[in-house]
């Protein structure tokens, strides 16, 4: 049971952590990205579409990353180059992604709800661990994307705090005029940050469609992009924070399935159990006192202004 719980936590957290990390790259560079939900969705769709046509789930993953990054590029152009309102642009991204993917469901599979089944990303199976009591249930057969998530967290920590790029990214969000004075193009850094966020969110979405399940469903992200945003805030915009917060919310997500499976007497109240993650996000945001976002987030950088 514990093993099952840990396993489902890992599974439910993966898309949240990946999207939260994506959000981190964007927001740390100074661009608010609430369109994570849309980028996840288009990643999920891209993965299924590409796998459907090429029968290769790895190409599907690549397509998801590209799709998410592409959508993010639009957000980047609007917010960085055209100095548009970040939140409005993010909302447009979500609306567009929702409409576009639902439209494509109709166009490609003539379906109104779910696509056809496609090949999943093959699980990584570790046969010798399967007999170990708890670990066996967790690691016996797990999607490679879950492992990727851990690697990306570690890599992100390294990139953010140990590389010049990470320093510039953080500077772009905290005090862009200083970065500009140092001769670095603030706009380019921000664009890269936003595109990265789309790529990671797309990967998170791909896990939902071809890592965990094997189809694309209409609007299948159902708010996970926003939960990822909450995880980002809860995790104070750091890679490790994203991992911990994302895992916490993933745990809540899995708990809901756990209760409906193991405590069937509560089944008529299933809706309330499903509500738990959402309510707890609100409560957790209420509890943590105004956490500190990057100082320059949300403000377009214009060279002519002196801050």
């Amino acid at each position: 049971m514990i093993g099952w719980l840990i396993r489902s936590t890992l599974q439910m957290s993966t898309p949240l952590v990946l999207a939260a990390l994506g959000g981190m790259y964007s927001e740390r560079s100074g661009i608010v990205n609430i369109g994570l939900e849309g980028m996840m969705l288009i990643g999920a769709f891209g993965a299924v579409a590409a796998t459907y046509y090429t029968n290769n789930p790895w190409l599907g993953l690549l397509a998801a990353v590209v799709a998410g990054g592409g959508l993010a590029a639009i957000h980047a152009i609007i917010t960085v180059k055209l100095k548009g309102n970040h939140i409005v642009s993010g909302t447009g991204i979500i609306l567009f992604a929702g409409g576009f993917t639902t439209l494509m469901l109709e166009v490609i599979w003539q379906a109104r709800g779910v696509s056809d089944e496609v090949t999943r990303v093959p699980q990584i199976i570790i046969p010798w661990i399967q007999d170990v009591p708890i670990l066996g249930e967790v690691f016996g057969s797990l999607s490679p994307i879950v492992y990727m998530m851990f690697l990306i967290v570690i890599a992100s920590w390294f990139v953010m705090y140990k590389t010049p790029f990470g320093l510039r990214l953080r500077a772009a969000g905290e005090d862009p005029s200083t970065l500009d004075a140092a001769g670095v193009n603030v706009e380019t850094i921000r664009i890269i940050g936003v595109i990265l966020s789309g790529c990671l969110a797309g990967l998170g979405g791909a896990y939902l469609s071809i890592g965990f399940s094997s189809r694309f469903g209409k609007l299948m992200t159902s708010g996970r992009g926003f939960i990822a945003l909450a995880a980002l805030i809860f995790g104070n915009w750091t890679p490790v924070g994203c991992l911990l917060a994302g895992t916490f919310f993933g745990f809540l997500d899995g708990l809901q399935a756990f209760i409906s499976l193991n405590v069937p007497s509560l089944l008529p109240y299933n809706n309330f159990i499903q509500m738990i993650p959402y309510i707890l996000v609100v409560i957790s945001l209420a509890i943590i006192r105004r956490s500190v976002p990057p100082k320059g987030v949300g403000r377009p950088y214009e060279k002519e202004h002196r801050t």
Binding site: I34, I74, I77, I78, L82, K83, G84, N85, I87, V88, S89, T91, G92, I93, I94, L95, F96, A97, G98, G99, F100, T102, L103, M104, E106, V107, S222, G223, F226, I227, L229, A230, I233, P268, Y269, N271, F272, Q274, M275, Y278, I279, V281, V282, L285, A286, I287, I288, R289, R290, S291
Partner: protein, 482 residues
Amino acid sequence: MIEEEVTAEHTDTEESWFTRLIMKVQTPEMKRNVYSTLVSIVLALLVAAGIMVFTGHDPLEAYGALFLGAILQFDKTLYNATPLVLAGLSVALAFKCGLFNIGAEGQLYMGSIVTTAVAYMISLPIVVHQVVCLTLGVLAGMAYGFLPGLLKAYRGAHEVVTTMMMSYASVLLTQWLVSQGPMHNPGDWRSITPVIFDSATLPKLFGSAFLNWGFFLAIGAVIFVEFLINRTALGYELRAVGANEEAARTAGINSKRNIALALGISGGLAGLAGSEEILGYYHRFYDGWSGGLGFDGVTVAVLGRNNPWGVLGGALFFGFLKAGGGNMQTFAGVPSEMVNVIQGLVVLFVAAPRLVDWLAKHGVGYAQVLKDNPRVGAPQFALLIYSIFSIVFSFLAFNVLSIINLLISLVALAYLYMRDEFGVWLAAITSIVWILLGVLTLAGVSIAFVSIMIGVVGLVLFVWYERVREANLNPMSQGGES
């Protein structure tokens, strides 16, 4: 203008309001806003047309069916617009105060479920019943918006996330209430409540199957919000907090209270939207009845630039789209989801007002060059047109290479429009790719032929451009212009 103010005491209040309105509409800022919004809509429709072509539909047929469907069923257009006006006002009011009420959908559901409960559980005399239902619906929405407002004001909780979360929660709550909970219609296999009493319904207008008195509620709400925002002290405070919270606080305005209040009123408007839909059209609550009206409110508010009358205009536009969308599906085979795609595109284009400025600035420069120096300007313009053709062709060719070329052509178009050298090189690259596509393709002889021809044309244009440029750079043979 000064004379007007001095003589204001002697003229009717209505007349000076009217004159002020006329003057406001004629300001360059208003003209720019309207112009910018129209361009955004056109651009969105163009991109949507591109997607239609990409998926094998005829955009002219589709837009024609859309237009006809909306005009012929104008009452449906107005009916669709009604909840959009209210939801749009909800979001717009919040925006004015610097808040983003993305969770209008949840407030809508809460308002509508409370209204439904009062409408079918209790029987009241005719006008009283409707007033009570609507009022309670508004209060429910207000409460549901007030909570995230409090959290934002006193705990700094990001209202985008909290309102979204509460929205999902409310969908689940109402779903339970009408399926397994106390509001379920006994014996019904659907997740639906009993029908409400006749005394609670809002009468229909003009014999329409859709349009009802809720429409007048919506108009009334527009006037109310406009009055609240622009004519009352509270509205002034809310706007001040939205413009600069710290400055407002220094001026003695209780920004925390105002933030909570703003989201509360916003929630109330969304609740009203839900209530009038139930009382005016649906006459009962069923699970998921609102197909995203809350989010539509966001698009309407954005399109209307958070101005109450703009919201009305935007709501009419989207009501128009929705009414025609069904027609578009039936007669042109374009799935009605395309309307959602157009919505998203409109929001994206409106989010970047500078896009219009950018277009105008470079367009004027371009026209200038064409006028002053046609020899240099002509090949540039030819390349610009070529890149547009390239984009269109890449939609029609529909394979991997053409998609790559689509992207390159789009970027080339942007640079060419800015008369940047880089665009010329990109256009040359697209020409080479077209030739490559033609040579490699197995997708039919005609496509290969056309592809090669297009590529050759491109290279010819490129050579022409280079020759003109080199001739220009030679100071001895020309007048030294560039």
